[in-house]
Amino acid sequence: MKKTAFISAAAAAVMAIGATAANAATLEDVRKNGELRCVVSTGLAGFAYTDSAGVYQGFDADFCRATAAAVLGDPSKVKFVPATGKTRFTILNSGEGDVLWRNTTWTFVRDVDVKLTFVGVNYYDGQGFMVPKSLGVKSAKDLDGATVCIQTGTTTELNLADFFRTNKIKYEPVPIETNDESRTNYLAGRCDVYTTDASGLAATRSTFPTPKDHVILPEIISKEPLGPAVRQGDDAWADTVRWVLNATLAAEELGITKANVAELAKGTNNPEINRMLGTEGDLGAMLGLEKDWVVKVISAVGNYGEIFDRHIGPSTDIALERGLNALWTNGGLQYTPPFR
């Protein structure tokens, strides 16, 4: 134990020096390596998983591709670095990854103390509870004395403790490492309640033998803005990732889709579309990217709505509604600063 403690102390000591060294000009490093090292989940339905050909698919994986398309001009030049909830920040901070698109909640501590820069929110989530219908529970406040399956190393673990403390009810946590483990444990009845982000609950419930026997309780006990993060200290790189996300949002707002982007890139009457797609002005060069970077992004993965519908939208097995993730013009929270 002492040796382990020493190692972590040493790690912390060199963190500051190492981090700044690794931070210099990530964009150049990515160009030099010819690939973007993108940290993703080891497996989360709809967000990141491998298909039968061994290719990463999912909502987060597509944002990795979008970033690679913008930076390297080729969406296939991504090296996916799978990370568990515990290792994701170390991998990013040690320079083993360039950007983190891993359904990671943007919190104060992670932003300030873990030395990350969160550059936006690609999915607004919130923590919920799922219980078997047979339990007869109508509200999370009825859960006194319940056993709760909970993933360790996540914000959900901390939210849970807060929620039960403020409501002065007792619970017994069953610590779990992965989503799949919680599913198994919950179905086997080793815990009464399964809690994680509401999107995850819906995704998991869709795979149950009898989804109708389980209810998701109405309480959403936390704000979980999931978004991409980069190492602190390389603002230019943070800008790049931020505006890749913003470009997909703006594209949806302006009606630019995978299908029509090539047509629109020839020039339109809308100056904002022209600026984005590089036919007017030179926004790309300001980021150090090609003139047609947005064209590459949209033709690779489509706009935000298309990515959403393809992987987690109502037509998929995950079947999530847009909800908070609708554009601000449709009553949601997704809002991008203007391309100007």
Partner: protein
């Protein structure tokens, strides 16, 4: 009563069959299953448990299983048992990981050659053993060339390794290199030279005092803090080094146990014959010490092979990692039993093979010692 007892001259009476109940099946049942009331009770309980356990497993795995389906829902529509279609769909990435599909023959080739290279090392009564040994010694380089490419083959990055292939690469490398290193460390620990001895002791105690996960974690993320910026040092290579060092620490202690079991007279006899240190070790001490250590060594190897799944922690997708990430595919989500059972079978075959080989070797070597 027409039967008249036939008489025989003394010593000529033919052997009579044992009385009924003392022969054949009855005897076997009596001695093995119902010899006492405790045994009888245990037999009854065991039969009951088998009756309770076997049919459902058979039902799930064979009778009610689905071999062909496009996704989980289709599987469930056909039958409620195991959905082996999932494993079929994922089989190639479970085995080869992300290795490019056009180049997978190289992995197969490397595996076949591995089996060939193992034969002369593991068995001593095979023809052409001498040239075979040369091939075995060259095998690591051949395998490295086949798997990594270069010199006429398309290069494949180690980040594309995955699945069972990754487990095998890490396991075999660890086993092959940790044994010699471990023996050296064990000898170093027994040595009279103070520097050699203290270095060995420090190394062994450090390795044994730190969990493998910590070492892997250091290898994957912390080395970057110490190396000058810009150096890239292949992740898989770092893992191989750490796994080898880790296993060698344990092997060293197992071998030391063997060395200490050799009577002092053997060392003295070797000295009195005028053998130098290395000669006496090679000819007298190590052959005996290693023979005693076989169960411990194989135990360490089996542990090492199973520990290869820990590479998941540092973002290498071994067979378990591929399984986990396949489970997150919405098309197949929730079929964890199928995937874990398949992975368990893979590990069982590998580990059981090692354990059988160790028993074979022990039987072969303990002529004259058997009790």
């Amino acid at each position: 009563m027409s039967e008249v007892a036939q008489t025989y001259p003394p010593g000529q009476h033919p052997d009579m069959p044992p009385p009924a109940g003392q022969r054949g099946l009855m005897l076997w049942l009596r001695t093995n299953l119902f010899s006492s009331w405790v045994n009888t009770l245990m037999t009854v309980v065991a039969v009951y448990l088998l009756y309770k356990i076997v049919p459902p497993i058979l039902d799930w795995a064979v009778l009610d299983a689905v071999m062909n389906a496009a996704n989980r829902n289709e599987c469930r529509e056909i039958a409620q048992g195991a959905c082996w279609a999932f494993i079929k769909d994922r089989f190639s990435i479970l085995v080869y990981g992300f290795y490019p599909s056009d180049e997978r023959w190289r992995v197969n080739m490397a595996f076949i050659l591995l089996c060939l290279a193992l034969v002369p090392v593991l068995f001593d009564n095979v023809p052409f053993r001498k040239p075979g040994m040369i091939f075995s010694a060259a095998y690591p380089f051949i395998a490295g060339w086949l798997l990594l490419g270069g010199l006429g083959l398309t290069p494949v990055g180690t980040d594309e390794f995955g699945g069972m292939m990754l487990n095998t690469v890490v396991g075999v490398t660890g086993i092959a290199f940790s044994l010699p290193l471990g023996i050296l460390l064990a000898l170093g620990r027994q040595s009279h030279l103070p520097i050699v001895k203290s270095c060995s002791v420090c190394f062994i105690e450090f390795i044994r005092g730190v969990p493998l996960i910590t070492l892997l974690f250091v290898a994957s993320t912390m080395l970057n803090y110490f190396l000058p910026p810009g150096t890239t040092f292949d992740l898989l290579l770092r893992v191989l080094i750490m796994v080898t060092l880790f296993a060698s620490g344990y092997i060293a202690e197992v071998v030391r146990g063997g060395l200490q079991a050799i009577p002092k007279g053997q060392y003295e006899a070797a000295d009195s014959m005028g053998l130098k240190y290395w000669q006496s070790m090679r000819l007298i001490v190590l052959p005996q010490a290693l023979k005693i250590s076989i169960p411990g060594i194989v135990n360490t190897f089996i542990g090492l092979f199973k520990d290869t799944t820990l590479v998941l922690i540092i973002g290498l997708l071994d067979v378990l990692g591929i399984g986990k990430s396949s489970l997150a595919d919405a098309q197949w989500n929730g079929l964890s039993n199928e995937i874990y059972v398949s992975i368990a079978i893979f590990f069982f075959i590998a580990c059981f093979g090692m354990s059988r080989y160790s028993i074979y070797l022990e039987n072969k070597l303990d002529k004259g010692y058997k009790r």
